[in-house]
Amino acid sequence: QSPDEALAALANQTLSTGPGGESPVSPSEINLTDDELAEIKAMGATAAIVMHYGGDDWSQAQINGLQTQFAAMGIEVIATTDAGFNSAKQVSDIETIMAQNPDIIVSIPTDPTATASAYRQAAEAGVKLVFMDNVPAGFTAGTDYISVVSADNYGNGVASAHLMAKALDGEGQIGIVYHAADFFVTRQRYDAFKATIEQNYPDIEIVAEQGIGGPDFTGDADRAASAMMVGNAGIDGIWAVWDVPAEGVISAARANGRDDLVITTIDLGENVAIDMARGGFVKGLGAQRPFDQGVTEAKLAGFGLLGKDAPAYVALPALPVEKDNLLDAWQAVYSTEAPATVRDSMN
């Protein structure tokens, strides 16, 4: 199987399975009728968005999607919080929000165990919970929460691996810059990338791995990638766990004069898009669809309000992005046209 074939196969399948092993449902199946919409509008419901980390385009697009869809459903967003990867802060955020008795909370847990009791309180207070990507420990779909919408992080990890292999023609030395914390989403990407490379591409050797801890993920990645290039002169490619660290890897490659370095990553941020458009270091990335994901989550929250049966696990397929499909991919990811900065860089 060539990388291209593998990528084509990916487009129509979702590799992740739900927390309870549920097989994924496509977001196209999540729909509200006009009557239902009117019913929801009449409720005057309120919602809160509780994020794990707000510092990247992915989070913003997700919030955008949620806000857009909630507005369409006549639901007021009364609070938005950012825990900066800190579970204690997230628990506080949930508690604080509970003072306002929201009807809906859409959230991504930083840590499935640490935040469980706070979500449990919310669930017991009758709040409709919709999760992104991951679910607190011990929660069962249908009773404790409505549904979880996943971006198929595993699938994206696989996609970025195939893209790497494609750009390297299936052989070479690569390095990995991963997130040095046991965080569900980034861990899935890492596992997927590594497994895909190891199983499918025996001629690609992983010669260096380096974790980064933040909060300055760009700088951390810059230092890590620089050291990889110094320590392994023959390194051909570096994978970064999301676009913000990837920018650090770009900067390191530039500084070290490694114009031939191949970078693949996950998440379609503006900067990596520009680099890709210019024919720079970023040869490919696996994109999530945060805007659609947000829209889907908002709709599922509506299911909850109506008491309508919702699928336990909804997943959006991974979207492999290369220079060829960059502009279309942008449209798919953000529901807007790619900005001029990206379009102009295409030539």
């Binding site: 938005t80 579970s87 506080s92 640490a114």
Partner: protein, 326 residues
């Protein structure tokens, strides 16, 4: 950081107020901020008993650490490792509870603090390395150790009693976290205000040479203060573990700045010699109230950050209007 030429004599109440505004500033500021939120957010549940208890719960760990930090700053030192030590202690406690139950967990938490404190103290008082450097280094060491022994994963606390004692439960209507905060606060206040040890801490921070000339064993005092700070940070970590039923290296991350901010806001000098435990707790609560109120207001995170900074400055500046030291 500004030089107050203090005023003395048989002074008027106004004069007294002028002289002590830095001590009182926090109380005025706290009342102003609280009143502001109570009015603007009265329909959003800010004053709901549960929300007030939430603020207390969310602030408890910071407040507990702030009590010890008051002693540290009063003695003219600093401890940047508290947040990381809390994280480490949450991990060691959780691992020990899983292994040997409640007593093992408590012992592991406390021992973490004692060990870290002795290392910090030894480096600072024997090798004369400034505490800023020792505790900054310790911040990395503690965080790294916590990541290492836990494999960066969360360690669940399955024991039922542990969370009930440390941070999870309630006694009657009162959260245990609130009790911990009160107990630690009262002890800290009495120690600093009423005991010989407290007097020595302030003297060492106020003028270390004069303290030595007065027959005070200055390095022993500093050692004790540093150990107390680390043990208290561990306690905070144990409370985190109880509250979240999890030990994790990220718990407490970045708390050092919040803790020091609470203490300085409370009127304790960064330069030593002056400290008030009650002020520090109010300082911590004020930060908690601001965080809570801004979320309830429905502000975005970026706006919350801006507003928080602005409110802190306003609260300090307002309480001080017309009381510029001569």
């Amino acid at each position: 950081m500004s030089d107050n030429l203090a005023v003395a004599g048989r002074e008027t109440p106004l004069g007294y107020f002028k002289r002590t505004w830095r001590q009182n500033i926090i109380y005025i500021g706290f009342v102003v901020v609280f009143a502001f939120f109570a009015i603007t957010l009265y329909d959003k549940g800010f004053l709901a008993p549960n929300n007030i208890l939430n603020i207390a719960r969310q602030t408890a760990m910071i407040a507990v650490m702030a009590v010890a930090m008051t002693l540290v700053l009063s003695s003219g030192e600093i401890d940047l490792s508290v947040g990381a030590v809390a994280g480490l202690a949450s991990v060691t406690t959780a691992m020990a509870v899983a292994w040997g139950g409640l007593p093992a967990g408590i012992a592991a938490g406390i021992m973490t603090g004692v060990t870290v404190g002795l290392i910090n103290g030894f480096l600072s008082t024997r090798l004369m390395i400034p505490t800023f450097l020792t505790t900054l280094a310790m911040m990395g060491i503690a965080k790294g150790t916590a990541m290492w022994i836990s494999g960066t994963a969360a360690i669940p606390v399955l024991d039922r009693t542990y969370p009930a004692i440390f941070g999870g439960g309630n006694i009657g209507p009162i959260p245990t976290l609130l009790l911990w905060m009160l107990v630690v606060g009262v002890i800290g206040h009495v120690v600093l205000r009423r005991t010989k040890f407290g007097r020595q801490i302030l003297a060492v921070g106020g003028n270390v040479v004069a303290a030595r000339y007065s027959g005070i064993n200055t390095s022993r005092i500093k050692l004790w203060v540093i150990v107390i700070s680390a043990v208290t940070a561990s306690l905070a970590g144990m409370l985190y573990a109880g509250r979240l039923q999890t030990g994790r290296f990220q718990l407490g991350e970045g708390d050092e700045l919040s803790v020091i901010a609470a203490v300085v806001l409370g009127g304790t000098s960064l330069f030593g010699g002056k400290g008030t435990v009650v002020g520090s707790i109010i300082g911590a609560l004020m930060i908690g109230v601001i965080n809570n109120g801004l979320i309830l207001m429905g502000l975005e995170y970026s706006q919350q950050l801006i507003a928080r900074g602005g409110i802190i400055i306003l609260a300090v500046a307002l309480s001080q209007a017309g009381t510029r030291p001569a």
